[in-house]
């Protein structure tokens, strides 16, 4: 029993950190732009399949392919902002529908070019095999993913707290109109925020791809984890997102090891909805991103 509890604690950290990494970008975008980025799952797909495209189809080196896939995201983000988000910012039903259509069309395109049977695989394995932590034998790659995810969050928090751009972003997230009166260039800041929010999902998908088989529909699955965490955390509040990620992680670890692994997702989804019924604005009220 003690072993099981120990495993639960270790996996709470691993799952929690993983979900935190998945939700980080979504929380940043929602916190600053106040936009529900339904095309967020596209970011996972572009980095994973973009890397494969540059590496295997165009014959570039693997590292250069990764860099180019991130550059692709940096190029596409302002286009998405300019032609979709900025265009429909005041008609949110149109905005959400347009973002959902962009996600579905990207997913469909990738499914046509790289269907699951093509076996897209990215050799990003950093720590093969398992690592023993006390009683627990943990997948080395998952542990690395969790650690990198935690470090990534730390750097993002430093960015928001210590840099001038971070300060401006916090100001925008706190009061849109007051910060507008101070002459902030919103379009530039929003694009920077969107690019900043687009990097974490790319890093996470590269790290988990060796242990979590890639397929064209993986984006929505990962997005649901990110969505749960962000909504529970209070949409666009990083402190809340961190707490929520570990709550969801602990539910998954607890249910997975002590009750029934098939119930992991169901339990966390129900828990999130129940918590939201009693705390409709999430665990941390979304007044500012940090």
């Amino acid at each position: 029993m003690i072993e099981l509890i120990y495993l639960t604690i270790i996996y709470t950290f691993i799952f929690g950190s993983l979900y935190l990494g998945i939700a980080l970008g979504f929380s940043i975008i929602t916190g600053i732009l106040r936009v529900f980025h339904l095309a967020y799952p596209v970011l996972f797909l572009i980095v994973a399949y973009g890397t494969w495209l540059f590496w295997r189809d165009l014959g570039l080196t693997f590292i250069l392919s990764i860099v180019l896939s991130f550059i692709l995201i940096i190029i596409l983000t302002p286009i998405l902002y300019r032609f979709v988000i900025s265009k429909f910012i005041d008609a949110e039903d149109y905005l959400l529908t347009a973002l959902l259509l962009i996600f579905l069309s990207t997913e469909e395109t990738i499914n046509l070019i790289y269907p699951e049977w093509k076996g897209v695989y990215l050799p990003t394995l950093i720590l093969p095999g398992t690592v023993n932590i006390g009683f627990a034998a943990v997948s080395g790659q998952l542990l690395i993913t969790a650690l990198i995810s935690t470090i990534m969050v730390f750097f993002y928090v430093i960015f928001f707290v210590k840099t001038k751009i971070g300060l401006i972003m916090r100001a925008i997230s706190q009061d849109y109109f007051a910060s507008k009166m101070l002459g902030i260039n919103f379009d530039v800041m929003f694009i920077i925020a969107m690019i900043a929010g687009s990097i974490p999902p790319g890093i996470i998908i590269l790290l988990i791809s060796p242990v979590w088989a890639l397929n064209p529909f993986i984006g929505w699955t990962l997005f649901m984890f990110g969505l749960m965490v962000s909504v529970l955390g209070g949409l666009g509040n990083l402190k809340g997102t961190i707490i929520a990620a570990y709550i969801v992680g602990s539910i998954h670890a607890f249910i997975g090891f002590l009750i029934d692994p098939r119930l992991m997702n169901l339990a966390s989804l129900i828990a999130v909805v129940l918590i939201l019924v009693f705390k409709p604005k999430g665990l941390a009220r979304a007044e500012t991103i940090w």
């Binding site: 106040r34 529900f36 265009k87 429909f88 005041d90 008609a91 949110e92 039903d93 149109y94 959400l96 529908t97 347009a98 959902l100 259509l101 962009i102 579905l104 069309s105 469909e108 395109t109 046509l112 929505w220 649901m224 969505l227 749960m228 909504v231 949409l235 666009g236 029934d260 098939r262 119930l263 997702n265 169901l266 989804l269 129900i270 999130v272 909805v273 939201l276 019924v277 409709p280 604005k281 999430g282 979304a286």
Partner: protein, 358 residues
Amino acid sequence: MVMRFEERRGRIIIHFLNRWRFEWVVEPRYWRNPMIATFLWICIPLLIPFTPSGVIGIGPMALLSTLILANVIAISALAHSFQTIGTGRVNFGPHFFVVTGGYVAALLNKSYGVDPIITFLSSFTITALIGLVLSPLTVIARGIYFTLITLILPSILHEFTYWRSDIFGAETGIPGIARLISTGSVIYDLYIYFYTSFIIVAIILLVIDKILRSRWGFILGVINEDEDVAISFGLNIGRIKMIVFTITSGVMGISGWFITHYYGSFTGTVWLEPWMLIFILLSSVLGGKGAIYGTVIGAYFIVLLREVLRSYLRETALLVLYIILLVLLYLLPEGLWGLYRRRRYREYMPSVRIRRKL
């Protein structure tokens, strides 16, 4: 006197038993276009067997099936549109209620041999009850939070169907359900299914239209425009929103009931996928914001377009469909109904929107 006629300000008012009355505007411009549209809606499907299959690339049987699916989408989309108007919230989980209604009908019929008429009532009632349980969310969760919570609901049901695959059949579904009707002739069956679904859509359409043109429609419009103003007028907006959410949830369940008894099997996981959400959402958004007649046009347009593209493009059909719909979002800011409205007097109808404030 059972029936009494009265002429007043260009209207003929028919009184029944001095209790109920029905008004008919004499001037044709008020009823000509709806009458023509209804006539075409009823009669065009009758011409399908005489249409050469090569005209739009779909055979007569497939075309009738497509129109039936359009009606199914229209049922959910109409309920969704009305729900958005009445609650001021956009539900991103309408397919949750569709699938719930479907499972209720499928399980009752398969396990207990319940008649489709009873499963109809059960699907509506149980889905409405689930809607009632969830309805406080329309009051508690503001703006986008409501959207996000409702987006999670289909995922919960999806996980649930896999967890209890012994009951729900997960990807295999629930086969062997009694069909609504079977005459032995496929074409007759399809016509019966089409006109049954048509009657359901028409009834929902008329009821919603009647409500929106009444004092209640004005109240719902005020709630949709500004809840604070509605409260200042002494409206119990919480109660109104909960009632609207409950009833419309039940109506969405009816489309699930129809799917179940039309196909004779029900695979909920298929209908829980994002394409169903986008079909329902786009029927109301692309049909015309807040325009319920536009919602039906939107449903027909999207479902027919998908079938036409599928017959010509095969694998790439879905991708092309999504791209066309995306382009239309840009080109038609007032939806397909907006094209018709440009030529007509703009009567007041509540607009549909989500409040951005978190």
